[in-house]
Symmetry: C2
Subunit: 577 residues, 2 copies
C-alpha cells in the first residue's frame, strides 16, 4: 500500500446517493471522469476482472464461444432494424471524417446477426452461441449512482442462433442456468422475474434482479411464486357487469373539485350514497401526456384509470416505447379547447370524439363499470357514466401503479413489492432481427428458413456496484471471496522492525502459496487509520501483524463477522488456504 | 472444429494488400465490420488475449499498476492542452444528448495527468507508473492493411510520473527494458530507432519497429549502430563555404526547362562547366506546398532543396505537424503572380520578399553554396546564385528524402534503408501536459514543483498482424508458441471409428495436462482439406491421428519446419510438454 495508486477518502463524494457509489469512490475503486463515465483505479479494475472471469467461465461452460466486436458501428444495419431511430437520444451517434454515420454500440444484435449470416449457411452449423465481454455506450438521460447506471459500461452480451423454436428454448434455458450460476458465484441476493422485452422486440423474457432497496427497478412477488418486473405485471381483469338496469348518467354541479380528493369529499357531502361512502376508486381519472416519437414528432395520449391509482411512469414508458413520455403542458391544453382541466371526461376523448386524442383505459374499466368523471365543463362531473354504454376507448393500457396486495395474475396470491437492480436479462428474440437482416439457412430439406435468435445480457461493471449494495456495512465494503481484489489484507501494526520484517516474510509466503496479499506497509500511518482503511476496502480476511509477532502469532479477522482469532505464524498459510 | 465458429476461406479478400490481412481473414481470425473496423472471431480473440497477457505480465514486472479509463472523454482537458484542435480530423468527436462535446480517446495523457493530480500531492507519492490495455480510436485518413492500421484498435498505454528528470529517465529506461522483453516474447524481428515526438510534444523518444517489407515506416541504420525512424534523421550539414571570391550570379536564358532533368541537359549543352558536368545536385529546387492548420486556416510554404532530392512527404509531415500538407494548386499559383511555375527562385520567396511566402531550406544549402535556380522569369534561370550572399531563407527544414548511402549523423557510417511497422513508442514527455493541466506536487522543501511525465505505447491488436507479417509462409500463418490460439492442432485423418475414439481420448489427455487442443473432428471433411486448414490456421504443432493409430502412433508435425515424427500414443503428452 505504500506504492499502490490509492487514496481513501474520509468524506462521501457530494454527488453520491447510494452506498455503492459512496464506498467505491471513498475506498478508491473508481473515480468519475465525466457525468456517468468512470475510470477504474487499480483495486476496482481487479474486481471488475474477477467478475469478468466468473462470467467467462460460466459462458464457456455452456459452450458459448467468445468473440469481440467493435464499439463503433456503422449506421446501416441499425437502420435496417429501425433501431437507429428507435433508440432516440439514448444512442451516441457520430460522423467520421468522410461524413459517414456511426453509432457507439448499446447492444449488438445487428452485428452478430450479420456476422453469422456472413459465415454460416446451413442448419448443420446450428445451434450456435456467441458472446462478448465489451464496453457499451448509452447516452442515459439521468446517469446516476456511479457505475450502477453509467453511460459507458461493461456488459457481457450473448446471442443464440437456432433453426427452430425448440432450439431457441433450449439455448434460453442454457443461458438461464448459466446466469443462475453466475449470480450465485457473485454472491448476489437475486430474483428472477418476468420482464417486458422493451425496444428489443421478441417474446419470452426474464430479468435477474439483485434485491436492493436502492434499486431502480420495482418488482412484485406472490406467496405462490409469481415474480415479475413491475412493468410486466398484468392486471387481473374484473368480470364485465350487466348494465341493462343501470341508472342513466347525470351531470352534476361539483364546483371547485379539480382533484380526486376534493371531488370525493364533495360527492359524500352533496350526493351521499345509501350503501357506503364514495371513494377515489369510484372515480375515473383521465390523465393526459404527450408522446415524443423517436423521429421527433409528438402526439397526445389520454389514459383513463380509477381515481385511486396513479399512472406509474415506468409501466407507461414500457407500454409506449420507443416513444418517450413528456408532460402535457399549458400550451398543449391551449391547443385543445374542449379539454377542461380538472373536469376532463371520456366523452371528448378518443379518436372519434371532439379532441381526436387517442384514449386508452386501464383494464379495470370493464363494460358496465360505473364512474364519476369529468363532464367537460368547468365545475361539473358526471355520475353513473357507464363504460361501453356511455363511452368507449381506443384500447387498453397497463399504466396504472401496481400496489402491494393486488392479486397476482396467475392467482398465486397477493403481491408484495420490492426493489432491485437489473443484473441480467434473457430474451427469446425470435426472428425479428434475422428477418430484418435476412439471416436464413438451408434446412434438412434444402429449404431456406429464417433463423431464430436469443439475446442475453449481464451487467459486468454494474455487478461491481450491485455486489457492494448487497454486501457492506457502516464501515465499508465486504467483498465475497471470488470478487475481492486480494485474498488477504495484511496490516503491519507497529513500528518495530521485527514486526515489519515478519509481515513482509509472511506476505511472501502467502504469495508463494497462491494467496494474493494487500500489504499495508505504509510508514507513518497509525494502526488505527490502517484498520479503518482495511474495513473500508473490504478484503474478506484481515491479518494483523502486531505485538503478537513476538509470540509468533498474528490476528486473523473476518471482515464480515468481525470474528478475531490468533493464529500461529507457522499455521497461517494452511489456515487461510 | 465441428462446433467452432470458423469458416476458412479459399480466396483472398478483395481489399487485402498485405499477407497478415489476407491470412487473418482467410484463416478466420478477424472479419471486417466497417472501413478500418474489425470484429475478432474466436481464434483471433484468443491470440489477442495472449498478446495482452504478455504485455500485462511485463508491465506488472516493472511495477506499473493497471487502471482503466473510459474511451469517451470530455473535451475540456484536451482543449487545455490544445489537442482537441491539433488532432484535426483524426479525432472522432461527438456530442451527448445535452450538446456536451466529447471525443473518443486516441491516447490518454490528459486523463492520466488529471487523475494523478486528483489523488496525489507530494513528492513522496512518486515515482508512479500507471498503464491500461484499452480500445482506442483514430479516424485515420487511410485505414489500411486490416488490423495493421485500423480506426478502432487495442493499445497498451502507460504513463510515468516523476518529480525530476533523473526519475523520468529511470522510468523511461524501465519501460525500454520491458518493451525489449515484450517484443522478444512476441517473437518479433524488431529494431529500436530514434523517433520524432510528433503531436505528443516532449523530447527523447524511440520507436520499436517490427522489421517488415510491408511496413508503413521507413527507418535507417548504419554499420556503427545508428538507427532512426526516417522522420528523425538529421542531415549532416556541410561546412560553410567562403564566398568572397565567388563569381557574381548571372541570369541566363533556359527556354523550355521547367524540370530539373531538362534544366541539367540544357546547362550541359549551353553552359558546359570546365571541371565536370552539371548534375541535379547543382540545382536548387523550390517546392511549394499549402499547409492546413487544425483550425482550418491555410498558409503557403516554400521549401528549397538540392534538385537531386525529392521532398519526403512523411519527413515534411513530421516537421509541420499538427498542420497537414496539401498540394499547392493552380488557384494558389494564381494568387501569387510573382511565382513563375518551373522557374521559381529564392529571390521572390521568404517573408521579406515579393510573395511573402515562408521559405525554409534544406540544411545542405549552407552559406556560400552556389546554385542554379529559377530566375522568376519564364524560361530563365540564375547561375552561381550564392546562399547568404544573394538570398536568405526564413529557417531550415528536414524535409528532403534520406537516401541509402547518406552518412549517419553520428559518423557511424553510410545509412541503409529498410521498412518496419511501429509496434511501440516510448517518450520522455517532460512537463508539457503537467504544465497545461497544472499537475504539481510539494517537493522535499515544501515547494510546489511541476511533475515530469513519460508516455509509452504498445500496439496490442497491431501486434497480432505484425507477428503474422513476420511469421507466415505460402501455406498460412506460423504462430510463435506464446501467441498461438491453441498449443496443438489435432487432426482426425480417417473415417475409422477407432481413430476418432483414440483422437478424442488423446485430446482429453492433452487438455488434462494443460495443453490446449484444437481438435479437427469435422465429419465429411477430407484429410486433405483438414491439413490445408491446419497449415492456414498456423498452430505450431500439428498432430495427425490416422492409420498409425492401429500401431499406437500419431504423426507430430512442426508447422514451421515441416519436420514430421511418429510418436507413440503413450509418449505424446510428455513429448509435447
Amino acid at each position: 500500500m505504500s506504492r499502490l495508486f490509492l487514496r481513501t477518502l474520509r468524506d462521501d463524494p457530494a454527488d453520491a446517493e447510494v452506498p455503492s457509489h459512496r464506498l467505491l469512490v471513498r475506498a478508491g475503486y473508481v473515480r468519475r471522469a465525466a457525468p456517468g463515465i468512470y475510470s477504474w483505479l487499480p483495486l476496482g479494475w481487479r474486481v471488475l476482472r474477477n467478475v469478468e472471469k466468473i462470467v467467462r467461465e460460466e459462458m464457456d461452460a455452456i459452450g458459448a464461444q467468445e468473440v469481440h466486436f467493435p464499439a463503433i458501428l456503422p449506421r446501416e444495419p441499425y437502420e435496417a432494424t429501425g433501431r437507429w431511430t428507435e433508440y432516440g437520444d439514448n444512442l451516441f451517434r457520430l460522423k467520421d471524417r468522410k461524413g459517414g454515420d456511426y453509432l457507439l454500440g448499446p447492444t449488438h444484435e445487428e452485428m452478430f446477426t450479420l456476422l453469422v449470416k456472413d459465415l454460416y449457411a446451413s442448419y448443420k452449423d446450428l445451434p450456435l452461441n456467441l458472446y462478448q465481454i465489451q464496453t457499451k455506450y448509452r447516452d442515459e438521460q439521468r446517469p446516476r449512482a456511479g457505475i450502477l447506471r453509467g453511460r459507458e459500461f461493461v456488459m457481457k452480451d450473448s446471442y443464440s442462433f437456432d433453426v427452430d423454436d425448440a432450439g431457441l428454448e433450449a439455448a434460453y434455458e442454457l443461458h438461464r442456468q448459466a446466469y443462475i450460476k453466475i449470480f450465485t458465484r457473485l454472491g448476489l441476493d437475486y430474483v428472477i422475474v418476468k420482464a417486458t422485452s422493451g425496444a428489443m422486440g421478441g417474446s419470452a423474457s426474464e430479468e435477474f434482479l439483485a434485491i436492493a432497496e436502492n434499486g431502480e427497478d420495482t418488482f412484485v412477488r406472490s406467496p405462490g411464486g409469481y415474480a415479475a418486473n413491475v412493468e410486466a405485471v398484468s392486471t387481473v381483469v374484473p368480470e364485465a357487469i350487466p348494465y341493462e338496469d343501470a341508472p342513466a348518467a347525470h351531470a352534476e354541479q361539483t364546483p371547485d373539485t379539480p382533484t380526486i380528493a376534493t371531488l370525493v369529499d364533495h360527492l359524500n357531502e352533496a350526493f351521499p350514497r345509501d350503501d357506503r361512502a364514495w371513494t377515489a376508486a369510484d372515480t375515473l381519472k383521465n390523465v393526459l401526456v404527450m408522446l415524443r416519437n423517436p423521429d421527433g414528432t409528438r402526439e397526445p395520449l389520454a389514459i383513463g384509470l380509477p381515481g385511486d391509482r396513479d399512472v406509474d411512469e415506468k409501466r407507461l414508458a414500457a407500454q409506449v416505447e420507443p416513444a418517450e413520455v413528456e408532460p402535457f403542458e399549458a400550451k398543449d391544453f391551449a391547443a385543445y379547447p374542449d379539454l377542461k382541466k380538472g373536469y376532463i371526461g371520456p366523452r371528448v376523448l378518443g379518436l372519434e370524439n371532439a379532441t381526436g386524442i387517442r384514449y386508452l383505459t386501464d383494464p379495470r374499466v370493464v363494460a358496465g363499470s360505473r364512474w364519476v368523471t369529468g363532464a367537460d365543463v368547468d365545475g361539473s362531473h358526471v355520475i353513473d357514466l357507464t363504460a361501453e354504454r356511455d363511452f368507449v376507448c381506443d384500447g387498453r393500457i397497463e399504466a396504472a401503479e401496481v400496489r402491494a396486495g393486488d392479486p397476482a395474475p396467475d392467482g398465486s396470491g397477493p403481491l408484495e413489492l420490492a426493489r432491485g437492480i437489473e443484473m441480467g436479462h434473457i430474451f427469446q428474440l425470435g426472428r425479428k432481427y434475422a428477418e430484418a437482416l435476412d439471416l436464413k439457412v438451408l434446412d434438412e430439406n434444402g429449404k431456406l428458413v429464417t433463423v431464430t435468435m436469443g439475446s442475453y445480457g449481464v451487467g459486468v461493471s454494474r455487478a461491481v456496484a450491485a455486489v457492494v449494495e448487497n454486501a457492506h456495512d457502516e464501515l465499508g465494503i465486504i467483498w465475497p471471496k471470488e470478487l475481492s481484489p486480494f485474498d488477504v489484507h495484511l496490516v503491519i501494526a507497529g513500528k518495530d522492525d521485527a514486526i515489519k520484517a515478519a509481515a513482509e516474510q509472511l506476505a511472501q509466503e502467502l504469495d508463494d502459496a497462491g494467496i494474493s496479499v494487500l500489504l499495508d506497509d505504509r510508514p507513518k500511518v497509525s494502526p488505527g487509520v490502517k484498520f479503518k482503511d482495511a474495513e473500508l476496502i473490504g478484503v474478506p480476511t484481515i491479518v494483523v501483524a502486531g505485538r503478537g509477532i513476538a509470540d509468533g502469532v498474528v490476528e486473523v479477522k473476518n471482515r464480515a463477522t468481525g470474528d478475531k482469532q490468533d493464529v500461529p505464524l507457522a499455521d497461517l498459510v494452511e489456515h487461510l488456504a
